[in-house]
């Protein structure tokens, strides 16, 4: 059988000219674009994603606000409101974990991951594209949330660069957590499991921290956990960069609390490296 003569003469895919890295970047952007288009077509996801943090802003400010004893500030609800916002911002960015997980689990479930894995594309691009799209969503959410926070009286007291640096740390933390979500999404069988699996552990993580109440008032064991919690580092760093700490606030002695910006940076990068490696490895052997 000599079918060669009738064999398709195709636009055969060429080897990527710029080598592996360039292909990684272009494939990741293609995938990010896909996920961003989805976001625009399913705006409910973004809108519902805003409800919870806005609710928390209002509930914590007005319900707990007057009863929480802030070291160095007492029971001043105005000071607590400023103290609180960095915590809510940080919690909001980590909730992107669930979205990334559910999205990737859905792709697995629907056979899309199989299609992508059978294409000559960069191995990490499906996951990187998803995490980039989630980063964009997180950034939008943060903007809306900052406006709401300003409406209830939140103000920054440092220069613009420091404020931007604070938001930068928040976005980096959010990005790091989407890689945890990616790993969860690849490890569970259904999108529903990825959503709950992506959220459940975030509650202890974000509550055993300095996000909503000062860690100084916690029992010793919890206090140590809270002070070394990667999440606390970012919250503390933002409070410093936004100028949201009460004037005489006693900063805990733990290293991450003394150098919160560095601690936040190190934690986030470490999380990205660790979970990205695991997630990409998992992706390579993924079975729907």
């Amino acid at each position: 059988m000599t079918a060669t003569s009738t064999a398709p003469t195709a636009p055969r895919p060429a080897a990527p000219a710029g080598g592996g890295l360039r292909q990684s970047v272009t494939d990741s952007l293609t995938m990010a674009k896909r996920n961003l288009i989805r976001m625009v077509r399913i705006p409910e996801v973004v809108i519902f994603g805003l409800f919870q943090p806005i609710m928390f802003v209002v509930l914590f400010s007005y319900v707990f606000g007057g009863s929480i004893n802030l070291p160095g500030a007492g029971l001043d609800p105005g000071l607590y409101r400023e103290f609180l916002m960095a915590g809510i911002f940080a919690q909001t960015v980590t909730f992107a974990t669930a979205g990334a997980g559910a999205g990737i689990a859905e792709d697995m479930h629907k056979g899309l991951i199989d299609r992508f894995r059978s294409l000559p594309m960069a191995r990490g691009a499906v996951l990187t594209g998803r995490t980039i799209a989630d980063l964009v969503q997180t950034a939008l959410t943060l903007i809306v949330l900052a406006v709401v926070a300003a409406l209830v009286g939140w103000r920054t007291h440092e220069n613009g660069l420091k404020v931007l640096a604070g938001f930068g740390l928040l976005l980096l933390l959010g990005y790091a957590f989407t890689w945890i979500g990616a790993l969860i999404g690849l490890s569970v069988r259904t999108p529903e499991a990825a959503t709950s699996g992506g959220l459940i552990w975030l509650f202890p993580l974000t509550f055993i921290s300095n996000a909503f109440v000062p860690s100084q008032n916690m029992p010793t064991v919890l206090r140590h956990i809270a002070e070394w919690n990667p999440f606390s580092a970012t919250v503390q760093a933002c409070r410093e960069l936004f100028g949201n700490l009460p004037p005489n606030y006693p900063v805990p002695d733990a290293w991450p609390m003394q150098h919160p910006a560095w601690a936040s940076l190190i934690w986030s990068i470490a999380i990205i490296l660790f979970f990205r490696t695991l997630a990409v490895r998992k992706y390579k052997s993924a079975t729907a």
Binding site: M1, A3, T4, S5, T6, A7, P8, T9, A10, P11, R12, P13, A14, A15, P16, Q23, T26, D27, T30, K33, R34, I37, R38, R41, I42, K110, G111, L112, D114, R115, F116, R117, S118, L119, P120, M121, A125, S285, T287
Partner: protein, 350 residues
């Protein structure tokens, strides 16, 4: 020289289950191999190994002249995969889906765009091109999925149960698309649990059960293994069974002495293996008539792949609920005719 798809001794176990238990395959360039088997036979696992999605425990696989285990990335450039579920993004339009796949095949953006338009046209999706795939019917989704697999006109295609869940009209449409594709020289490995589908589309069929290839050959060769054609008679009056049996025995290929006539008393059905086709059938009808034997039903039955399957595996192809109505003898014959005409078309292309 090995074919466009070649596998030797593929083994893959999942815990206790040997999904592939030493599978050998060889598909010459430009031909279609139908991998036929019930659910859980190992068909999908075989496709997943050959398309680089799954690493086998042992064995060798070569696709388009490339080692699947050593050069997976290169293999991916030469294959198209249409899996069991339409792998398309529901929230993207048909056009966006195809452009995305083109770009991921590393086509330049402009080329990906042109190719998407071309495929949408060819698969009759132009009108729906800019609607999200969520609004597509099952048949349209399947066509879009197949189009996505064809973006770079891969020389080797894999289709895993391409028509499962489609209604008869859509199934027929998809068959025509597949036939066109093969006429263009594409090598195709197709899995199916529909015997009719393998009969119509595949040059060669490998019957898979419990992770092993238990038989292979053309559809005709496999049918020949089950024996030739038979005449089936249902007599009206049970008392006339002996007379009818004697009459039929005279026409048996095994000779009158050995008889070879099987009789089912409760259904009053007699079956005899014969050669001679329709002409003999007419003769038998005349003889039965002249002896005054009243018949409720009579027919010439050729073996279907269904018979082959039951003979080989000891169970039917459709273990599970999704079985289509199997073609009767007449339909099977029609399918064969179709196959021939496709072969002729292929000659014409060459």
């Amino acid at each position: 020289m090995p074919g466009a798809i070649y596998a030797e001794g593929l083994v893959k176990t999942f815990g206790e289950v040997r999904a592939l238990d030493g599978v050998d395959l060889d598909v010459p360039e430009g031909t279609v191999l139908g991998l036929l088997g019930p659910n859980g036979a190992g068909k999908t696992t075989a496709v997943r190994v050959l398309t680089t999605l799954l690493t086998p425990d042992s064995g060798k696989a070569v696709v388009a002249g490339l080692d699947v285990l050593k050069q997976p990335h290169e293999v991916r450039r030469s294959i198209g995969l249409s899996g069991q579920f339409a792998a398309i993004d529901e929230y993207l339009t048909g056009r966006e889906n195809l452009q995305m796949v083109g770009q991921l095949y590393q086509l330049p953006a402009r080329e990906a765009k042109a190719r998407a338009a071309e495929l949408l046209e060819r698969f009759n999706l132009s009108d729906a091109a800019d609607r999200t795939a969520k609004t597509y019917s099952g048949g349209m989704r399947r066509r879009l999925d197949l189009a996505a697999a064809l973006v770079v006109r891969p020389p080797v295609m894999f289709m895993d149960e391409p028509t499962t869940g489609l209604d008869p009209r859509n199934r027929l449409q998809l068959w025509e698309v597949i036939e066109d594709l093969v006429a263009g020289g594409t090598t195709l490995l197709l899995t199916t649990q529909y015997l009719e589908e393998a009969d119509r589309l595949a040059h060669d069929i490998a019957v898979v059960d419990h992770g092993k290839v238990i038989a292979r050959g053309t559809s005709d060769q496999l049918k020949a293994q089950t024996g030739g054609e038979r005449i089936e008679v249902v007599v009206h009056d049970r008392g006339q069974i002996p007379t009818a049996e004697a009459l039929l025995a005279a026409h048996s290929v095994q000779g009158a002495a050995q008889s070879g006539v099987t009789v089912e008393q409760h259904t009053r059905r007699l079956t005899v293996p014969v050669t001679g086709g329709a002409k003999l059938l007419a003769e038998v009808i005349r003889e039965l008539d002249s002896r005054g034997i009243e018949i409720d039903d009579i027919g010439l039955r050729r073996p279907t792949l269904d018979d082959v399957f039951i003979t080989l595996t000891g169970h039917g192809a459709e273990d599970e609920e999704t079985a289509p109505a199997e073609g009767d003898a007449t339909e099977a014959a029609g399918g064969k005719k179709k196959r021939k005409s496709r072969k002729q078309k292929k000659e014409a292309v060459k």
